[in-house]
């Protein structure tokens, strides 16, 4: 944690905003911003501008494309910079951000040079689309304004000044009179998140069950900086229980580095026989969990590839829990369910 006096000195302007105060500044420090844009000059400019505003406001960690990660780091040497996606397309961005709750986080994407697109997320499955319209092709200069607007919307949400809207439209058709229209988010979380078909309740139950949550947290921190893994099962009496499993990835990597190119630093593999033993004890497999080290609690491309290699889940009906360990501290958790409608994995909404 940064020195509070330094936080005040460098980022004091948020403290001056009515309603922000020290708690708001601390929340900013505890959040992770995620940035991604497509390859267009417009998108890159908007995304970088958004990132610069967020870093300047005092966000604690940021996931950024390699093209400007160093620039953001230069703004704040204490910023936790994590590698992100260098390019995304709008559909990918939508899925990508929908599946990256990061526990407490801010996600922003800006893509599409012609229409303008940004997605912001501050908590699981809350995607905001920011659409931009102007009379001429959007210029990088205008993109900076859009990026800054996206940052402002997200900061207001983090500081709890104004909830993140569901949709934002910036109309710059008249260059002398730009307008911004915000559509409030529905108060019905299931309807809001229906596109990603979350299944309710399990994450909250898990976090509220000491026998389930404490072993995961302890093992994830103990194992850092290697990934840790295990199962979550329901005992015959209905209680959730965590089974911690050794991560065998290094053993497989040593045996066949071509087929298993990753080490336990960035991958996990467990002995699947544990499932049979658990079933013999009358336990039902509910979820498979693993940790990401110095990365968010997102369901990665590798996770998807391993969980549903042919577009169908290898373990139907079983959820996947990902926990994020940054610098040795647990910083987020998210639960993912396979969504037959999309063929992908969707994050469970926290309020479900």
């Amino acid at each position: 944690m940064r020195d509070p006096k330094r936080l005040f000195a460098r980022y004091g302007r948020q403290l001056l905003v009515d309603g922000a105060d020290f708690d708001g500044q601390a929340r900013l420090h505890g959040w992770t911003a995620v940035l991604a844009g497509d390859t267009s000059e417009w998108a890159q400019a908007a995304t970088e501008a958004c990132g610069r505003y967020l870093v300047g406001a005092g966000v604690g960690a940021i996931v950024a494309p390699s093209s400007f990660a160093a620039a953001l780091q230069a703004l704040d040497p204490q910023l936790h910079v994590l590698p992100g996606l260098d390019t995304v397309s709008p559909p990918v961005a939508h899925y990508w951000f929908a599946s990256r709750p990061y526990g407490a986080s801010v996600d922003v994407a800006v893509t599409d040079a012609s229409a303008g697109y940004a997605a912001g997320q501050s908590g699981p499955a809350r995607v905001t689309t920011l659409r931009f319209a102007c009379g001429e092709p959007a210029s990088p200069e205008v993109a900076v304004v859009v990026g800054a607007a996206a940052a402002d919307l997200l900061l207001a949400d983090v500081l709890k000044l104004e909830p993140l809207p569901a949709h934002v439209v910036i109309d710059w058709t008249d260059p002398t009179e730009p307008t911004m229209t915000r559509t409030p988010r529905s108060t019905d979380p299931p309807a809001e998140a229906s596109q990603f078909a979350p299944r309710p309740g399990l994450l909250a139950e898990m976090r509220g069950t000491p026998t389930a949550w404490a072993p995961i947290e302890a093992e994830a921190v103990r194992g850092y900086p290697t990934e840790t893994c295990g199962l979550l099962v329901r005992e015959p009496g209905g209680q959730l229980k965590t089974i911690v499993c050794p991560n065998l990835q290094d053993r497989y990597h040593a045996l066949d580095p071509n087929e298993f190119p990753r080490t336990s630093r960035t991958a996990y593999k467990l002995n699947e026989r544990v499932i049979a033993k658990s079933a013999d004890a009358g336990e039902a497999l509910v979820a498979i969990w693993h940790s990401h080290c110095d990365a968010g609690a997102y369901f990665s491309a590798e996770d998807v590839r391993c969980a549903a290699p042919a577009g169908q889940p290898l373990y139907p009906g079983v959820a996947y829990l990902v926990v994020s360990v940054l610098g040795g501290q647990l910083r987020g958790a998210a639960l993912y369910h396979f969504d037959p409608a999309t063929g992908g994995f969707a994050a469970e909404h926290p309020s479900d």
Binding site: Q249, R251, L255, A267, E272, R273, R305, L314
Partner: protein, 92 residues
Amino acid sequence: MAVTVKIPTPLRKFTGDKDSVQVEGATVGAALHALEVKAPGIAAKIVDDDGKVRRFINIYAGEDDIRFLDGLATAITDGAEISIIPAIAGGC
């Protein structure tokens, strides 16, 4: 010799929803061949065109992944249990 092959849920469509199948075979490969005869189409889901166990499938002879034994040539004894289990793996 008779062995029991445990079938995972995604592959039970080939076995008429049975979770295990009794076959004859002296090696894991021979047992899989016998399994294919009883459940046509299942072998292609387990091994690739080169005869290698697919990346996301594990075959356990008893308690051991056959990758750490002799692969499909791993010898099995009468009454042995072969488990075909989808991989649990991933990474950031």
